[in-house]
């Protein structure tokens, strides 16, 4: 009797064991597929956009689409050049404003600032990163646009409505502060303290050490941080849409309106299904945006991985 009971219990235990192992295996498979899916999502997005933008690529040569300045969807003319130039103007201006401020702030926070300042500055910068882009846009309309219209443009002796490249550049610069500072701080922290000590021991001042030793070592990572900021600015939509003016013309100065690529996409979602090829053109604009951002991001991430490896 006893041995029978023992065998039954043993058997049940074995089955339970198998069920547990089976559960483990099935869950593993399931997780594996989800992992593959999220890893390949970026390709899925690119393929999806490519399929949708094929109709227009089949009819027009890419060079015409990219370099023609004539944007008349109703006549079937889709030249992205004004929008691409608008994006480049706004992005470059934002990066030019952001680079010196962010580098100086990052060096200060990592090398000079007392611990309590560093620890209290970080959450504030995180907070800046968390503000929704539409709020940045509202702020730009409230503060930056009137500032340019009433003070900056008259100062240069010209007229501007305030909705211009400069407004977009300033708002974008503030939006990319957090990412550039955050990544730069990580990079600066990864510079081994030994070489700093060696430089100080040779009689260099702290600033000389930073200028000639720390920054030289940190340069690739800092450039990667800037590139990440740049690609963020290139793809940012709502804030730019609200302050850049949206006139489909290649801007010739920072006080003229621009119509960046993301703003074009966001502004035309309504009518694009009623005009032939229009939706295809808009999704091609998305694809261009995606490819540019991917290129920048991949380059920056590769550099950052190298930086990370070099300290381990």
């Amino acid at each position: 009797m006893f041995s029978w009971a023992y065998i039954i219990v043993k058997k049940i235990d074995e089955i339970m064991q198998n069920i547990r192992l089976l559960k483990d295996k099935i869950a593993g498979r399931f997780m594996f597929f989800l992992t593959i899916f999220s890893g390949l999502l970026v390709f899925l997005i690119a393929i999806g956009l490519y399929i949708r933008s094929r109709p227009i690529l089949a009819i027009k040569p890419l060079s015409e689409l990219l370099f023609s300045t004539s944007w008349h969807p109703l006549r079937g003319e889709f030249g992205f050049f004004p929008f691409i130039m608008g994006s480049i103007w706004v992005t470059v201006l934002a990066v030019v404003i952001a680079i010196p401020l962010c580098l100086l702030a990052a060096i200060y926070l990592s090398e000079y600032a007392p611990k309590y300042i560093r620890e209290s500055a970080k959450p504030l910068i995180d907070l800046l990163a968390g503000i929704p882009s539409v709020v940045y846009g509202v702020w730009g309309v409230l503060v930056i646009v009137p500032l340019i219209k009433d003070h900056i443009a008259p100062f240069f002796g010209t007229f501007s409505t305030g909705y211009c490249v400069l407004a977009g550049g300033i708002v974008l610069a503030i939006m990319i502060f957090p990412i550039i500072i955050h990544v730069s701080l990580e990079v600066l922290r990864s510079v081994p303290y030994g070489i700093t000590e060696a430089s100080l021991a040779l009689g260099a001042t702290k600033w000389q050490t930073i200028k000639y030793v720390v920054m030289r070592k940190a340069m690739p990572g800092v450039i990667a941080a800037i590139v990440l900021g740049l690609s963020r600015a290139f793809g940012e939509t709502m804030a730019v849409l609200m302050v850049a003016g949206n006139v489909a013309k290649v801007p010739s100065s920072a006080l003229e309106p621009a119509y960046p690529l993301p703003a074009l996409i966001a502004n035309n979602y309504g009518e694009m299904l009623s005009v032939p090829l229009y939706d295809s053109a808009i999704l091609l604009a998305c694809l261009i945006l995606l490819l540019v951002v991917l290129l920048f991001n991949i380059l920056a991430r590769v550099v950052l991985i190298k930086v990370e490896r070099s300290i381990q």
Binding site: M31, T35, L104, Y112, P132, V135, F177, G235, L294, R301
Partner: protein
Amino acid sequence: MDKRKIEENIFKALMIASTCLILSCLVLILAAIVVKGLPSLDLAMITQTPKGGYYLGKEGGILNAILGSLYLAGGATILAIFISLPVALYLNVYVKKGSRLASFTRFALDVLWGVPSIVYGAFGFTIMLYFGLRASLLGGIIAVSLLILPIMIRAMDEVIKMIPEKLLEASYSLGATRLETAMKVVVRQALPGILTAILIAFGRGVGDAASVIFTAGFSDSIPYSLLRPAATLPLAIFFQLGTPFPEVQDRAYASALILTIMILAISITIRILTRRFTRHIVK
């Protein structure tokens, strides 16, 4: 004084000035939104839906947009959890350290994190065209969940990575399978971090506009079905600001204040959570 010292002091002053300038941007933005938004903020704004002629300056509120944003971000967050948690667990429990698959996935997710939200919106739109969906709450949820996916996975991954290897080994040595270790040890140990990751993603979902512009549409009523278009707070702000009427624009500022308060509340909750939810953690 030494010339080198003078240079150092000049640069130090510049550094302090830039740090102050950057931090003062935050203060300036919050102050401008509060100063402009507070006077036109009233109870009707957050308790009523838009009545006829709301966008011409008649009465009503933006309850539809507030609820729409919460439904949308909530739905997207739940959908994203079901993908993120398994992926984050897989990367840290099932896969060996330093495997090709794990580093490729992390790299792809970092790159995905940099993809602009308008691209997610457009991709969501192509998916919807493929399935014949119209602009709806469901479409918005899909687009936003893709947008917050890389943020959530990487945030969860970072916390789970921190769990000491010894803890996993202890669990295995007691005969637990990898799944049991993942669900009963890892999740519990990383719970505060996982909640933080979920809240970060939720905050991002509430505040994002570009991804829902194609996919969720807009409507003046509170969405009661997944297949109905839904208003969102950021888009409500955008549309109100775009009207030529000053009183409607004032409401846009008030709506921006509401959105900012929501986002700040989420960030503060994240801070409190990370401090307090440490019950289950084995130190």
